[in-house]
Amino acid sequence: MSVTVTSAAKAPLSERLNNQLAGYGFLLPWLIGFFVLTLGPAVSSLYFSLTDFSLMGSPNWVGTENYFRIATDDPRFWTAMNVTFTFVLLSVPLKLMFALAVAVALDKGLRGLNWFRAIFYLPSLIGGSVAIAVLWRQIFAGDGVLNQVLAALFGYEGPSWISNPSTALYTLVMLAVWQFGSSMIIFLAGLRQIPQDMYEAASIDGASRQRQFFKITLPLLTPVIFFNGVILTIEAFKAFTAAFVISDGSGGPIDSTLFYTLYLYQEAFTNFRFGYASALAWVLVVIIAIFTALSFISAKYWVHYDD
């Protein structure tokens, strides 16, 4: 492009303009959306985060005070961090492991693959809905299904898992893990792309099944594991609906399911502290960005690329 262009090369203005017009014409809706609904709001919320903006009055500049308060003087922020990180660090690896294990089991060329695949996928398709949160709440309630089953099988009288602060979060982790299906689908597609003849060559070389798994399958699957891991982590940081429904929007019992997004929601739309909530939002953006960046940096050391 930067090479000097002879006069013969210059298309007439109308032609060059037409190309630009067509391109920007088709891109116009997205461009408007980007500026009006993404970039503009992002800039304003960054500004809000530096003000004391609330429903009560117009924004007054307070500098970094909101951020300072988040870091030093907000125990609920740290609770939310604790809850969210626990959730992310438990649910993502568990989900990955489940997804991978089931995908590998399904990839054995067995019959009925399509059925199993569909069954395992279904929860991740509907898992985000309120209905499932309601269902979860029922299952883990004191008189819920889980305790009925436990009582019937072992005669064990379980507590209310939902209203117990030390177990409530784990029911949400289980809900997340229950939705491993879409990651499994991606793993399955990844497994399909590993050339069959690699296994044939390996078994001729006398490699055992375990060895084939650890020396062929796993390394060749690392790009997919990486992709799934990043997506799931971002998703997990943003988890909201289930915690909201199960705790009636409170993050209870005693803030044990106070997900970051839930706290953010409360600050913004219950307490109407727009400035402070904006600061919280940007902290989340930065946390996700750092996590993503770290993943990409670490990928150099463990993700196997062909080229």
Binding site: M1, S2, V3, V5, T6, A8, A9, A11, P12
Partner: protein
Amino acid sequence: MTTLALNKIEKRYGATEVIRGVDLKIDSGEFIVFVGPSGCGKSTLLRMIAGLEPISGGELQIGGERVNHKAASERGIAMVFQSYALYPHMSVYKNMSFGLETAKMPTAEIDARVRQAAEILQITQLLDRKPKQLSGGQRQRVAIGRAIVRDPKIFLFDEPLSNLDAELRVQTRVEIAKLHADIGATMIYVTHDQVEAMTLADRIVVLRAGEIEQFGTPLEIYNKPANKFVAGFIGSPKMNFFDVTVTRQQAGTTTLGLAGTNIVVPKIDTTVDAKLCLGIRPEHITNDAKDGVALADLTVTHVEHLGGQTIVYGRMADGQSINVTLDGQRTVHPKDTLKVGATLDNCHFFDAAGQRLG
């Protein structure tokens, strides 16, 4: 008159020059073949003529008019793609009528044109099918049909036969030649296959690395290749090249040393001790010692019997390899020694830079 003229046409992608100043004048109704090794810029040149690729420099004229910036569809050109590029979701009929509909032609005329083209190509019974339901050869015809209906002045073909099997390739080649004879439009045909080039072309353009190496009729190119590259590219099996040294310059003759043998040929404009290249096509080397030049004896290393011909691979005393295509079935065995020679007018001489001498 739809003459086509390329004046110093250039194409650059960023800093890499892909076409370097191509000059070409093509007469109305000619069948021109661009031939050259893969990656030499044939498709790029064709696509610039078509209007699919912007021209970086130079001028393109169709019928005397500069068309560098004319839209592809307004150049009076139709193109048959290597992949055929049939619209997969449209019937054969729709594939052929799409361009005419775009041009807002009356339906009755569209129908007439499509049916006529289908008639010519004998695909009338396929008009309602989708491309998926066609064989390779049939798809090829539809692609040509799509070009015909637009009644273009110039047809462009980009390696149209490369996706067909050998037998169909020969058959379609003949049909394209017939089509050209019937409709008389100018055709430009790109291929890397020199047999297609030789059989189809009125004139051949041999390209290498974005430059024209030679432009002429098939026989001109076969008989008088302008340089070593063209000599080697056209003809199969490939021309033999021998390193020779000029040992003596006399009035009227030049003596060359080849593997210990002296060859006396009519005077070549060169100097004593110059290293030259002597090129002789395998089919022009014989072992019936008659007139012409006697070459150094060859020791046979390998023999291929094709029935009609016998191809002998061998080495000369100094190790240079030599291939000979002999007519008929010969009893030749490896390790045999063969006396071979060729007539003078079948000997080509190239200087150190590969340019033809004489």
